[in-house]
Symmetry: C2
Subunit: 292 residues, 2 copies
């Protein structure tokens, strides 16, 4: 299989697990439908993809890491639903489709977000119990919980909101992104190592994920500035409209491109060492050389 086939096969596997996990019984249909809408609307499944790819690269068991990898995707999805709400970013479109509150109303959208966050922990805790209560499961869930909380993703969202319409400096921008998107990407990579029982590799993995996370964000900012809105599934230039500071607005386009290349190169170098099969290098290229 070439890279695209391998990627597709992994995405299909992730989606089949997600579909199973979100097939929740004994709950009001409406809320499950709303959760499923945003979870199954698409997306590249970057976080679970990183978790399973690193776990596999270190000879861990793909099925063992899957509940934690999918937990991350549920958490990522909840954060998008809440970010899109009228009192937050007030977005009508996400991945080219109406946002959750546009389809189900604001109250259900809030509850669907809550439900996804909560379900992530239910899935991971059930897996920890049915998998034999190994210590590493608690460690993996704790890593994810910390990354998604106020010291991580939620904290980053607060910094983002507080920065709107202001000129922030580059350090604040780094901190915001390292929390808002970087924390979950880092957690995804780290749990791959934890479930593979490779605590000795965690520093290297962390280093990879930090370079990847920041490169990913700079590319995101560049695409918001020069990308193709039909490919992105959202309006180009939305950052500027929303008065958001970005790498491009602070550093300019050329310097941002050079910075993205620098971090991409570092991530690529570490990926080479971590995964002898070459898949992680190709995945890194795929994530950073994208047009959407």
């Amino acid at each position: 299989m070439n890279f695209n086939e391998k990627l597709k096969s992994k995405q299909d596997l992730i989606n089949s697990y997600l579909r199973e996990y979100i097939n929740i019984k004994d709950a009001p249909e409406k809320i499950v439908e709303a959760m499923k809408y945003s979870l199954m609307i698409g997306g590249k499944r970057i976080r679970p993809m990183l978790a399973i790819s690193i776990c596999e690269a270190l000879e861990g068991d793909l099925n063992e890491v899957m509940p934690f990898a999918c937990g991350l995707e549920l958490i990522h999805t909840y954060s998008l639903i809440h970010d899109d709400l009228p009192s937050m970013d007030n977005d009508d479109l996400r991945r080219g489709k109406p946002t959750n509150h546009k389809v189900f109303g604001e109250a259900i959208a809030i509850l669907a977000g809550d439900g996804l966050l909560n379900s992530a922990f239910e899935i991971m805790l059930d897996a920890a119990a049915s998998g034999g209560y190994k210590n590493k499961y608690i460690r993996a869930i704790a890593v994810i919980a910390r990354a998604s909380g106020v010291k991580g993703m939620i904290g980053g969202q607060v910094i983002d909101m507080e920065s709107e319409g202001k000129n922030i400096d580059i350090d604040t921008l780094y901190e915001m992104h390292s929390k808002k998107t970087g924390a979950l990407i880092e957690a995804a990579c780290i749990i791959g190592g934890i479930i593979a029982d490779r605590e000795d590799k965690l520093e290297e993995i962390r280093n990879y994920s930090k370079n990847l996370g920041i490169a990913f964000q700079i590319v995101d900012d560049i695409l918001d500035c020069v990308g193709d809105s039909s490919k992105l599934g959202k309006m180009v230039g939305s950052d500027e409209v929303n008065g958001k500071s970005t790498f491009v607005s602070i550093l300019g386009l050329d310097k941002s491109k050079r910075l993205a290349e620098k971090y991409s190169k570092s991530a690529r170098e570490i990926a080479k060492v971590l995964d002898s099969t070459g898949f992680l290098v190709e995945l890194t290229d795929f994530l950073l050389n994208r047009d959407h």
Copy 2:
């Protein structure tokens, strides 16, 4: 010590743990302030109180159950913040004070709720790790996660919203309450037994909590109808204004009072057996013979 002194001493202890847990560093001040505002504004601490009281009654370690007991209080608090939002119940007052979104704005209130739910899991997972990764910790956290999710509390909130302005039958009302408030009360009681290593008592505890939960809710409905708003810290008659079906609106006041007495009596009988010191009986009386 008499009952009131014992209760006060336990509440003080719970509050000191909560104050410690919510003293979060490495996170934006604003969000921590908003979370703290709603968490420390008061309240009877019913859920942690039940968890520690049942754990103690079964000769478990009070300090060991505390992180899970407090996790429940954080989850309860987040649910109140989100329930009060303009797109949900649109309440301005909670416990006689302005609701979270009235003080911090809607966006921060949503994030503060998310942060409290997430922090609950962080606290409980940290305790599981530092307490030596015992299996019972995963079981306790899983019980709480299930109770707070779409099969429990969130599901109950959806049924509540869907029932607004409609005439629902008594079975739907039971289901709504058993999920919306009953599930967390049940989880509180159950984790007391789990942490005390008394799996043999769980059925009895579940039975106690179900009777307590439903009695508690009927008393709540009665107070909303005939209570004193200055003691309740909220408007009396708000259920009627909001078009909500209650035990009183479906069964009438007299029948509701008789039903509350029936469930209270059952809860009291089981409490007597569960706790030879008598504290749980007194706590049950305190929760059910209240005027606010």
